[in-house]
C-alpha cells in the first residue's frame, strides 16, 4: 500500500542523470582540508599538529565535550597546517590540512572482522561514537546521542529514511543498490542497540529497484519495506513517521517522544562499517550533478575533498552556473566558494544553471493560499512572512506557531509572489532567540 502525506510539492526530481551511475572512486586528492566541525554542536579539538605523520583512519580531532563526534584522517600523509579554510556550512572554519603521500595506508587495528551479534548495545554505541558517525542525511546530528535516548523514553520502532525526497540527489539510492547488505546490517545493529522489535524502511515510489531489492533482502527479518508517495518533503523526519505509523510528533518534541528513531541510509552503512570493520566515517557517497555539470556522477569522496576536485572529475562545467549548492536544492546551502570541502553531511553537490536562478523581484502577498495548501506542518506561512516583515516576531511565535516550522521550503517553492517565506521565518526565529538571550542575561 502506498503511504501519503498531506501537503508538500512535486518538484521535477532530476534524478535521471545519475540514478543509473555506479558509485565511482575519486582519485586521491593531493591535499585534503578536513574540518574539525562536522556535526551539530561544539566543534571538535584537533589532536595533531603541523608536521605530524598520519595514517588513514587515525584520530585527528576529538570531541570537545563528549557529545560531539571525533574526526579521522581520510588518508595517509602529513599534516601541513591547521588553519581556517572554507567550510560548506560555517564560512571559514578550522581545518586539518593533510598532504596525501599517495599510499592511502590504513592505521593498524582497523579493518577488523567481527560480528555485531556478539557485541553488546553499550559496546556498539561506544564504537559508533569513536568512529565519528553522524546523521548523513544533511543534519549531521551525532548518531551516538540519537541512539542513547533518556531512560524514560521507550523506543519501539526504527524507521530507516530512504525517501531521498530532494530533487537531483541519488547518493542514498546508490548506497541502497550497491551496499544493500551493509544497510540491512546497520539497521539490525541499530535495532539491537535500541532494543526495538520492529523496523521500517521508507522508500519513495520513484525508486522501484531499491524497493524490490530491499524487500528481497529483508525477507525473514523484522524489517518491513514501506512504499511512499514521491513528494517533497517526504523525507522530513516528522513526515516519515506520519506516513509510516500515522503518528504526529507533538509540537516541540522529538521522534523519541512517539517511540521512534529515524536513521538515514548512509548513516546505517557507516554504522555497519564501524561496528564490523572498525572503519571510521572518512568517506561518503556524494552525488555531483546539475544541468551545468558535464558528466554528473555518484562518487565515493573522502571527507575534506575540495569541491573543485569533484567537478574536475565530472569533466567540468558546460554553460554558465548560477549557484553551487551543497545538499539538495530545496534545503541545501548555496556556496560562496568552490574551495569548500566535502563533509560528513554532504549528500550531494548540485549546480544550478544561470537561467534557473530566479532573480525576479519579490512582490506583496496576494493571499492566494498556496503556501497554506503545501505546508505539511499546517501553518500559515504567508501570515508568518508578513509578521516577520512587520517585525512582529513575538506574535508569530505566540499566535502562529513559528517554532513548528521545519523550514522545508515548500511555501517559497509555490509562492507566485516569490516571497522567500522560509527566510522570513528564519529571521523571526533568530530575532526571538536573541530576545530570549537578552532576557536571560538581563535577569542574571
Amino acid at each position: 500500500m502506498l503511504r501519503r502525506i498531506k501537503g508538500g510539492v512535486h518538484p521535477h526530481d532530476e534524478k535521471k542523470s545519475t540514478d543509473d551511475k555506479k558509485i565511482a572512486v575519486l582519485p586521491l586528492p593531493k591535499k585534503l582540508f578536513v574540518p574539525v566541525h562536522q556535526h551539530i554542536g561544539q566543534p571538535s579539538v584537533p589532536v595533531v599538529k603541523a608536521g605530524d605523520e598520519v595514517k588513514k583512519g587515525q584520530l585527528i580531532a576529538e570531541s570537545a565535550d563528549g557529545r560531539g563526534t571525533p574526526v579521522h584522517s581520510p588518508t595517509s600523509g602529513k599534516v601541513t597546517e591547521i588553519g581556517n579554510y572554507p567550510h560548506p556550512l560555517y564560512g571559514k572554519s578550522p581545518c586539518v590540512v593533510i598532504e596525501s603521500d599517495g599510499l592511502d595506508q590504513w592505521q593498524e587495528g582497523l579493518l577488523t572482522d567481527r560480528s555485531w551479534e556478539v557485541l553488546s548495545a553499550a559496546e556498539m554505541i561506544d564504537i559508533i561514537f569513536k568512529n565519528g558517525i553522524v546523521g548523513m542525511g544533511g543534519a549531521a546530528f551525532p548518531t551516538h546521542i540519537k541512539l542513547s535516548p533518556p531512560k524514560d523514553k521507550k523506543i519501539d520502532t526504527l524507521i530507516v529514511n530512504a525517501a531521498e525526497c530532494e530533487p537531483y540527489l541519488t547518493s542514498d539510492y546508490r548506497t541502497m543498490i550497491e551496499y544493500a547488505d551493509d544497510v540491512i546490517k546497520g539497521t539490525q545493529i541499530v535495532m539491537k542497540i535500541l532494543g526495538v522489535q520492529k523496523g521500517f524502511i521508507g522508500i519513495e515510489n520513484n525508486k522501484p529497484k531499491a524497493i524490490s531489492l530491499m524487500k528481497e533482502k529483508c525477507k525473514g527479518k523484522k524489517i518491513e519495506v514501506v512504499e511512499l508517495e514521491t513528494k517533497y518533503p517526504q523525507g522530513a523526519e516528522k513526515m516519515m513517521i506520519k506516513a509510516i505509523l500515522d503518528k504526529e510528533v507533538p509540537s516541540g518534541k522529538l521522534p523519541m517522544d512517539v517511540g521512534c528513531a529515524v536513521q538515514n541510509v548512509g548513516s546505517l552503512k557507516a554504522v555497519a562499517d564501524a561496528v564490523e570493520k572498525n572503519i571510521p566515517l572518512i568517506e561518503r557517497v556524494v552525488t555531483v550533478t546539475g544541468r551545468t555539470v558535464k558528466n554528473p556522477v555518484n562518487v565515493m569522496a573522502k571527507v575534506g575533498t575540495p569541491f573543485t576536485e569533484l567537478f574536475d572529475f565530472c569533466g567540468g562545467f558546460r554553460g554558465a552556473n548560477g549557484k553551487i549548492i551543497m545538499g539538495g536544492p530545496m534545503m541545501g546551502m548555496a556556496q560562496v566558494s568552490l574551495d569548500a570541502v566535502v563533509v560528513k553531511a554532504t549528500s550531494g553537490i548540485v549546480s544550478i544553471a544561470d537561467n534557473e536562478v530566479d532573480l525576479k523581484e519579490e512582490l506583496a502577498c496576494i493571499r492566494c493560499g498556496r503556501c497554506i495548501d503545501v505546508c505539511t506542518m499546517r501553518l500559515l506561512p504567508n501570515v508568518l512572512s508578513i509578521l516577520s516583515e512587520k517585525g512582529q516576531h513575538q506574535t508569530a511565535q505566540t499566535d502562529y506557531n513559528l517554532m513548528d516550522c521545519v523550514e522545508c521550503g515548500c511555501c517559497y517553492y509555490v509562492c507566485p509572489s516569490r516571497r522567500n517565506i522560509v527566510h522570513y521565518i528564519r529571521q523571526s526565529k533568530a530575532k526571538n532567540a536573541m530576545l530570549r538571550n537578552a532576557i536571560k542575561t538581563g535577569s542574571k
Binding site: V9, P11, K238, K242, D246, K247, E248, V249, P250, S251, V258, N321, G322, K323, I324, I325, P329, M330, M331, G332, A334, Q335, V336, S337, L338, I352, D354, V357, D358, L359, K360, L363, A364, C365, I366, R367, C368, G369, R370, I372, R378, L379, L380, V383, Y400, N401, D404, E407, G409, Y412, Y413, V414, C415, P416, S417, R418, N420, V422, H423, R426
Partner: protein, 360 residues
Amino acid sequence: MTPDSSAETKINLYAPHIMSGDSTGRIIWTVAAAMLPALAYSSFIHGINTLLLILVCAASAVAAEILFQLVTGRRITAADGSAAVTGLVLAMTLPPLLPLWMAAAGSCFAVIAAKQLFGGLGRNLFNPALAGRALLFVIWSGSMRTAWNVTSEGNIPAEKLTSYGIIPQQALDVITSTPPGEGMYNAATVIPWFTESFTAFYDFMIGQNILKALFAGNSGGLTGEAAVILVLAGGVFLLWRGVITWHIPFSFLISLSFASYFFYSFTGSVSPGFITFIHIISGSVIPAAFFMAADPVTSPLTGRGMVIFGTGCGIFTFIIRSAGFYPEAAFWAILLMNAAVPLIDRITKPPVFGLNRSSK
C-alpha cells in the same frame, strides 16, 4: 557566473533554490483573459459605448495607480496587472450605457481609496472594484439604475445575430421589447415583487423565454452579464488554471440555491426550483461568484474559511434580494463578507501538526 567570495553577489544563498515558476503577474493576467470573452460579447451586443466603458475603466484604473505611486514616491507596480483587472471587474458591474466619466471616477476611487490607501496589492480589505461600484451607486444612483441598453442602436448587432440564427428570436424580443426603468431590466430586482403574484411571474418568465435570453443573448443587464454562459466559461477556465479554487463559487451558489429553494417552498410557491434557477443565473450572481467573491486578496486563506465566506455571500445575497431594495444584491453581500474576512481567518486557523491532535 561562478560563485566566488569576491564577486558582488545578488543571489540568494538560502534554500530553497528552485521554484515552481508560477508568478503573481501570470495569475492576474489570467483573470483578465478569463473576463475577455464575456466583455467582448457584451461590447458586441451593447455597442460602442460599452467597449469604451470597458477601456476607460481599465485605463483610468492603471492611470490612477501610476499617478498615486508617483505622487507618494512609491515603486510603480502597474505592470503586475492588478489595476487593469480592477478596472475590468468594475466595468463588469456597471450598466452598459453609463457615462464614461462616471466610470472613470469609479475606477479612480476603486484603485486609490479602496486599494492603494490600504497599502496596495494584497493589503486591501474590500474588493476594490465593488467598492468603486458602491460609491458610484450611492452618488449617481439615477444613472446606475437606468443606463441600460434596451431599445437603442446597441440592439442592431443582436438583431443581426438573430437573423443568422446565432441567438434565438425570443432573446431579441426580450432585449427590444422591455422599456427601461420598468419591468424586467433585471431579473433579480423583480423577483421579490413577483413573489406576491407568483403566477404572473412564472408566465412572464416562461413567456419571454428568459432562460435563453440569459444564456445566449442578454437580459438587459449589466456589462458583465451579457451572456452568462461566457462568464461561466471564464470562471471554469480560472478553476482549471488553478487561479481560484472551488470553495467560494460553489459554496456561494449552493447556499444561495438552498436559501432560495427553502424560502419559496415554505412560502408556497408553485415552482421553487425554477425561481431558484433564475436567482442563480441572473443578477450578476455568476460573475460575482467567480470573479469578485473568489478574489484571493479579499477572501479567507483556508478552504474552511472560504466555504464560510462563500456561504455568507450566498445567504446575504438572498436576504438583500428578498427583503432589501438594492439591485445587484450579490455585490453588496460580497462587500459585507469582505469585512468579515479577518475574523474568519482568525477562527479557521488550521490545526498545527502535532499540536491540536494528540498523537494516536
